[in-house]
Amino acid sequence: MRQSIRANRGDRLYDAVNYTILTLLLLAVAYPLYFVIIASFSDPKLVASGKVLFWPRSLDIKGYIEVLNYAPIWTGYRNTLIYTTLFTALSVMTSLLAGYALSRKPFPGKTLVTAFLLFTMFFNGGLIPTYLLMKEIGLYGNPLVIVLLGAVNVTNIIISRTFIKSTIPDELFEAASMDGCSHFSFFFRIALPVSKALIAVLVLFAAVSQWNSWFNAMIYLRDQQLMPLQMVLRDLIVSQSAMSMASDSADMGGDAAAQIYLVEAMRYAVIIVSTLPIMCVYPFVQKYFVKGVMIGSVKG
């Protein structure tokens, strides 16, 4: 009894402080987000001159209309959904398999493979040889290239390895293998179900990175029908890239500013349109972050 009372007071203080800090954080982070939302409904000129503060000014949904009327957006959504699903499946599977393998006790070639994979995190041949390779093996223009390129993410493999290593000790496998359990069944029957949080994180990382990506599509795909969402949106908002802003419009001999005018209205609407779907994924993933019932089966 005495202990629970003591624990209560100290805990209550902790909770109160925690709550306050989180609230302050919430407010600090939320305002700019709120700004993006109200800016997407406002006249872009007022936004730029700092007139939009707490509510939309000069209600203007023109940005949304332009964006949503742009037919290729729907193909873009469809393509991105397909690419994201396939990519996530491939990426998560390879990360889990490789992470699991590397988390086991040393076996011949383990260090070699680790070094082999890590090396690619720093040194790569660059865009030119990769491009040439794609052309050669016939992946240029093929939507498969979006799914395959980048599916192996060494950082994710390392994260998987760390997670699995610290949650599934070797002794457990030793015990299971003595009962005739192979790595395969151990992996699928025990390791995976217990690593729900890890899988959730990997899925989230893979899905979001694919959802936001456009570079590979831009370089390796030609057919407009295959373009993912972000590529389509980039077409709408040419000034999204720093490069285009850098171009000296004096060379263009004309009214470059007219381009910018066309695009301003859509800038904030595009953010909402392109990120709302993927942001909705997180709550689904969140529920896997429940405090797991862990492997209390191996103590000491």
Partner: protein, 549 residues
């Protein structure tokens, strides 16, 4: 134990790398092998053109329909350059079907050059001199001059007569590989930015359009004092510009004080000699004037911190937010009007900047060695230069939507870039404008085109005619540049970056008053020289000589 393990690892990695190298070798050999093959058939022999496919005169250009693959770099105002209706027109008339691929990004253009993967025809891709020269060196492009002499007399004589255009299009090996986009409208070329002032506010305040620096300051002060009254908003920005931007920047203030600057690098040309203005002590006067305006609160600090989009938003604001700004086009034609450069009273004639009669841009049609019908291609380019309807369709867009003929047989514009909404609506019918070739030289504007906007108040043409004609810098003072070799370009860019970075910081400090102009001047000049100003100007002179000889 550990040692042998790490040794094994090292050996394993080395093996992996060697495999990779070998893989690279074989793929490269194929690349190299493949590229040198096909050049034989392209040489047009005397007699039949393109192996008999191309007619030497008249339409259609080829006996049978042919397909040519082309690439063009993306442009936001003309997003559908691959699917536009004009290609149908071209195919019907000439039998040449241009299949255009739009390259969405500079990376892709870069890759095209790096991998030697060219189509038949390269349209406007903002090719830089390094790319052009290295592709030429590699034999990827077809020298176009001999073809011009045979099949394109109009272009041939134009290039001979317009040295600036010709020299500005050459690769570093001195040969011509492409044709340019030419638009020599006097109201376009003879003026850089208009200087816009909000006439409606002046009328409200009973003020005249300022003609001297004193008057300009007073007008700005009056606008500021009357913020919130009438149509002047309470958060009005009296004078606004994009600091140190050649477009939209403060350069015409310099010109008002007799310090003429005709390039973003603060250069100008004096009788063929390239001179620097950034360290000319005479520039202290306009800088002091700007400092004065800044400290009176007539220039907001945002001129230094706003990015391009914000800048455009503010000057395009309707109702207007800015009292005076510099811009290619008048953003509020009903309310603002063009004003001439102001007189500083220091005895120097105020001039406003002009542009040169150069290609805009050059090399918007380059024939590659993969092209099986170079003669047909050149004939097409010639047809664009001579056939008015074809030229305007390819350049502006479908007849009847973008332009039409008037009663006297001259062509006139129905709408263009000043109406971005109409552009977006009709994006399927737009022409390629400056992403392809056109020959709109002085004779075009004299005989074939009726520019209606001269009569419409506050258009650029009207402003040129009524305000700027006699106040623009002579074209030969405008700095222009030709192509240099890769090493020179590299050095030039390095000097330019270092000098620009430093100069921008110092001038910003001068104008905001953080550094005193007189006190800090000598140290500034010294540092500029240390950063390589002299060598930079020499290189710029070299580039100028290439184009102007």
């Amino acid at each position: 134990m550990r040692n042998s393990k790490s040794r094994a690892t090292m050996i394993g990695l080395c093996i992996a790398l060697i495999i990779a190298l070998l893989a690279g070798c074989s793929s490269q050999k194929e690349e190299a092998g493949g590229s040198s093959g096909a050049s034989a058939s392209q040489e047009t022999s005397d007699g039949m053109a393109d192996g008999g496919m191309t007619n030497l005169t008249g339409y259609p250009i080829t006996k049978e329909p042919i397909k040519l693959k082309a690439v063009v770099a993306y442009s936001a105002l003309r997003p559908n350059m691959d699917k536009t209706e004009i290609w149908k027109y071209v195919a019907e008339k000439t039998n040449i079907d241009l299949e255009v691929e739009v390259l969405k990004d500079a990376e892709k253009v870069d890759l095209m050059f790096a991998s030697n993967d060219f189509p038949d025809l390269i349209l406007g891709v903002a090719m830089n001199s390094n790319q052009l020269t290295s592709a030429a060196e590699g034999g990827q492009f077809v020298e176009i001059e001999p073809l011009l002499e045979q099949y394109a007399p109009t272009w041939s004589s134009f290039m001979k007569e317009n040295k600036l255009v010709y020299n500005g299009s050459l690769a570093a090996d001195g040969k011509l590989y492409g044709l340019p986009y030419i638009d020599f409208a006097p109201f376009d070329r003879n003026l850089r930015d208009q200087w816009i002032i909000m006439e409606s506010w002046l009328k409200e305040l009973n003020l005249e359009i300022p003609k001297t620096t004193e008057e300009f300051k007073n007008v700005l002060q009056a606008i500021k004092d009357n913020a919130g009254k009438g149509t002047i908003p309470s958060d009005v920005i009296p004078y606004y510009f994009q600091f140190d931007g050649y477009v939209g920047g403060q350069f015409d203030i310099y010109g008002s004080f007799g310090v003429y600057v005709t390039s973003p690098d603060y250069l100008y040309v004096d009788n063929g000699v390239v001179k620097d203005q950034s360290t000319n002590p005479k520039i202290k006067e306009p800088l002091k004037y700007l400092r004065d305006l800044y400290q009176s609160g007539l220039i907001p600090p945002e001129v230094f911190t706003d990015d391009g989009n914000t800048y455009v938003s503010k000057i395009s604001s309707l109702p207007p937010l800015v009292g005076s700004y510099h811009s290619y086009a008048n953003r509020q034609p009903e309310l603002g009007t063009a004003m001439g450069p102001i007189d500083s009273g220091n005895g120097q004639k105020p001039f406003i900047r002009s542009q040169a009669y150069v290609a805009g841009p050059a090399n918007t049609a380059v024939i590659t060695k993969n092209n099986k019908y170079p003669a047909a291609t050149v004939r097409l380019l010639e047809a664009i230069a001579t056939d008015l309807e074809l030229e305007l369709t390819v350049s502006r867009g479908v007849k009847g939507t973008l332009w039409d003929y008037d009663a006297e047989g001259k062509a006139y514009q129905l709408f263009w870039e000043e109406s971005p909404d109409k552009m977006a609506e009709n994006s399927a019918k737009l022409g390629l404008h400056n992403s392809f070739v056109a020959l709109k030289d002085q004779s075009f504007y004299a005989d074939k085109w009726k520019e209606l906007s001269y009569d419409v108040k506050n258009t650029r043409a009207w402003a040129y005619e009524h305000v700027y004609k006699d106040a623009v810098l002579p074209n030969d003072m405008v700095y222009v540049e030709g192509a240099l070799g890769a090493d020179d370009v590299s050095l030039t860019n390095q000097y330019r970056t270092d000098l620009t970075n430093y100069r921008k910081t110092v001038f910003a400090d001068f104008i905001t008053g953080r550094q005193d102009i007189d006190a800090g001047w000598d140290a500034y000049v010294k540092q500029m020289n240390k950063l390589g100003l002299e060598q930079f100007v020499e290189l710029r002179q070299k580039a100028y000589d290439v184009i102007a000889k």
